[in-house]
Amino acid sequence: MMFSNLRLSQPPATQPNNNKPQQQQILAAQQHHNSSPLPTQVHAAMFFAPSPPDIKAPPHSPTKSSLSLSTTSPQPDALALAVAQTIPSELILHIFKYVTTTRDLRNCLLACRAWCHCGVELFWHKPVFYNPYPLVRMICVLGLVNPTFPYALFVRRLNLSNLSEDVSDSILARLAGCERLERITLAGCRKLTDSGLCKLLEGGTVVQTVVGDDNATPPNSTTTIAIPQGALVPGCGATLIAMDLSDLTELTDVAILAIAERCPRLQGLNLSN
């Protein structure tokens, strides 16, 4: 196995540990954490059994000093630490997209701040609801005066048809801050009228919530105080691409005219029944 003959030079013992170039920060970090003697040989073939016959290892050690790989590292954790901090954010996002459940994604976001910044928009991209309580919680969060992230801007798709019996005009009006909303499904939400829909599209003054003094308590009906501070929001008509309003029996021409006026990008509209 040619590759197993490959030898990497060992850095001189006197070499300072803290002046590596930027692009070698992974190795620098490992070196920093790793004061024991460094491995000198790469056991790559150990893992990938048959190496291609035409891959050539150089006969001489490379001139530039470098450290070996994690297989031979006595402290793999130190390397993992360094690597985890150098993953490009789009790659983290690739990984997050393959995470199976929303709960798993939430756990990722809670693992560290960098990951949270990276994945929070994906997390809020398309909230799905199976019972009303999370929707109420979400509306409370959307109304926070100083949220950690601009959550309302992350929401791109909303499907409230699972909660058709619970969605009222006032709930819809409080979603008007989602000014980047692209698709909304309200099929079967029979309680909705022109007023709620117009407020969603046109925005206006939206009630904000202030979390009580105990910041560690989740915002819910007992710890939040609603004060009509009047945050002015533009409504989400401008960005909507598709709306499903089927079975909204209370709607009249007023809503249809509002849609025509406020939704320049609309491509799909379901008004059946």
């Binding site: 893992f47 490379p62 001139t63 470098s66 997050f96 997209k97 701040r113 960098a114 929070v120 969060v141």
Partner: protein
């Protein structure tokens, strides 16, 4: 003058690998390089270690004959993705190595390998608590700020599912 049938890659420490160019037809980075600077002796892949590049090239060799359509988006979970037994070596490697391969796949822009490694990474994250994930990757410390956002994002996804 380099041989058009082969390509030589140089890793961060100067180690060189010469492989048939056909192996790397899925690497956008290599294809772009061949178009613009293909007359040069060797292509530098500075941020990849020899061990990782060796593994990536093994993957490329295994899949050199594949005729499937090139992946446009490596992270499109709507596309069905079946595990290939030839890739089992990647699925069995330790977390830190897998992470390095994920990054190398991203650097070399091989969507098929990004998908494989990202998907395997995600499957290891599935079902783990934040603490377990931290132990896996050991990223920077949890700050107080994140506790707040825990409360804020607490329930939205609780009953939900990612868009799929």
């Amino acid at each position: 003058m380099s041989d058009p049938a082969n390509i030589t890659l140089v890793t961060m420490d100067g180690t060189t690998f010469t492989v048939p160019s056909a192996y790397l037809h899925r690497s956008k980075l290599v294809q772009d390089w061949l178009r613009s600077e293909g007359d040069k002796q060797a292509m530098e892949v500075k941020h990849v270690t020899p061990f990782v590049l060796q593994g990536v090239l093994n993957f490329c060799e295994i899949h050199a004959e594949d005729t499937s359509e090139p992946l446009a988006d490596p992270a499109d979970p709507t596309k069905p993705f079946e595990a290939d037994p030839r890739d089992d070596a990647f699925r069995g490697m330790p977390d830190d190595q897998l992470l390095q391969f994920t990054m190398a796949a991203d650097i070399l822009q091989i969507p098929e390998l990004v998908r494989l490694t990202a998907q395997e990474m995600a499957s290891r994250i599935d079902g783990k608590s934040p603490d377990q994930i931290r132990a896996m990757f050991n990223p920077d410390d949890l700050a107080e700020e994140d506790v707040d956002s825990d409360n804020e994002m607490g329930e939205v996804g609780e009953e939900g599912a990612i868009s799929k």
